[in-house]
């Protein structure tokens, strides 16, 4: 539609002949809906203010159309593109998981590291050390005269630092009241989904060495 004022205001002015019947359906409001010009094609109803056709408009106007039918319209090509890309992403994810498994198997055991001396740790005492990396905080607890346990300090729920409580025999996570058993590291209450990773300990004379990390799922 041009902006020529001489033109009448189409399309509402295009009145069907059927409306001028003696029964005057138009006056009673019972006009059939198709007596007027039907609504335009949903793909064509958005018109930019500059009046140019949609294929000559900038991309954002086609991406964010004003009209609801056009906004909800999904072309078959777009849908097929979405399906292909999503399937490709899933397949790539599977390959990635496989590679990670192989890499983990070939990584080898972490190095043996000295973490402290036995004489400096009384019964019921705890020690924070880092193993195997410099950012992996772990806790060492001497639960009995001849028993040492060591776990990763990261809570398996949201990686808060857990606090051992040797008097009660639990390890507590203060963030969401998660509880782990001190002797086994198993999650016994609260939100943590897995036991704490256990650090393998070996005692040679007076010195305590960490020899490995055992990650458990149950």
């Amino acid at each position: 539609m041009t902006d020529d004022p001489a033109q009448s205001n189409a399309p509402s002015a295009q009145v069907d002949e059927r409306l001028n019947t003696p029964a005057r359906e138009g006056l009673t409001g019972t006009t059939p809906a198709d007596a007027y010009v039907p609504p335009r094609d949903p793909e064509q109803i958005t018109r930019a203010p500059d009046g140019r056709p949609m294929d000559r408009q900038p991309q954002w106007r086609r991406d964010f159309p004003i009209d609801w039918p056009q906004d909800h319209y999904v072309a078959r090509r777009d849908f097929a593109k979405f399906l292909c890309l999503t399937s490709l992403a899933f397949a790539a994810g599977q390959v990635w998981i496989g590679f990670q498994n192989i890499w983990r198997r070939h990584r080898g055991a972490p190095p043996v590291a000295k973490i402290g001396t036995l004489s400096a740790l009384p019964v019921g005492g705890t020690l924070v050390f880092r193993y195997p990396g410099p950012h992996d905080d772990c806790i060492l607890v001497r639960t009995a005269q001849d028993k040492l346990v060591a776990y990763s300090q990261k809570c398996t729920h949201l990686s808060c630092a857990v606090i051992p409580d040797p008097a009660k025999g639990v390890i507590r996570c203060p963030c969401h009241e998660g509880l782990f058993d001190l002797n086994t590291g198993r999650n016994i209450a609260g939100p943590p989904p897995r036991p704490l990773p256990r650090i393998d300990i070996s005692i040679r004379g007076d010195e305590v060495f960490a020899t490995g990390v055992e990650r458990r799922t149950i």
Partner: protein, 213 residues
């Protein structure tokens, strides 16, 4: 889907300012119609302002959040609640001054022609309560028969912007077939000063009062 043959007609000539339409309250207890006073110091003329539902809605053009959408029947809907960021761009942009930002609920709300009613073929609430039918919802034939002195128009000129709307405004029939309301010109156009004198003749209380215009 609003029936194509039912249209909204606004006849400001017939508005008596009774505020019945502002009781519409259909949008969560908030009235979506503005009853505007024109030159309130000099006149009692009021005009109801509903959303005109433009062919190229300026409010939706300027919306940065893509919140204002139009349905296939041409009704520009109120802002989508999950998208609206209450920036107020539409308030600035609308030439008719329809949208309004509600700061307390952080959303723009505007008249959507009572879409729950008109989509099923009923009249909007304001058109049902208007006692003088300044707000009329019906077919074009009905309005042509009811208002023989007026003609509906839906084309407006605001400066360089020409707007075609879905809601029709009744303008006096001047014979020239003029179908375009130039709003900017009309705002500069001041009505001629009129002297109204009411000479009351005390001798005869039943004499006709002369009104010289």
């Amino acid at each position: 889907m609003k029936p194509e043959h039912l249209q909204f007609f606004i006849d400001p000539n017939r508005c008596i300012g009774c505020q019945a339409c502002t009781e519409c309250d259909t949008h969560r207890g908030v009235s979506m119609i503005h009853l505007e006073y024109i030159e309130r110091s000099r006149s009692v003329q009021t005009v109801p302002v509903v959303c005109m539902h433009c062919e190229q809605p300026t409010c939706a053009e300027v919306c940065p959040a893509d919140a204002i959408k139009r349905t296939a029947d041409g009704v520009v809907q109120s802002a989508r609640k999950p998208r609206c960021i209450a920036c107020g761009n539409c308030v600035m942009a609308c030439p008719f001054g329809v949208p309004e930002v509600y700061e307390d609920r952080q959303i723009m709300m505007k008249c959507d022609m009572c879409y729950d009613r008109t989509s099923t073929g009923k009249k909007p609430m304001c058109a049902t309560v208007c006692p003088s039918q300044a707000l009329f919802f019906g077919t074009r034939e009905q309005i042509e028969q009811l208002r023989p002195m007026s003609v509906p128009t839906n084309r407006f000129q605001f400066g360089n912007q020409s707007i075609t709307t879905q809601v029709n405004m009744m303008v006096p029939k001047d014979g020239a077939g003029r179908m375009l309301v130039n709003v900017t010109d009309a705002m500069n156009d001041q009505p001629k000063a009129r002297n109204v004198s009411l000479p009351v003749v005390w001798a005869d209380p039943f004499a006709e009062v002369e009104v010289a215009l």
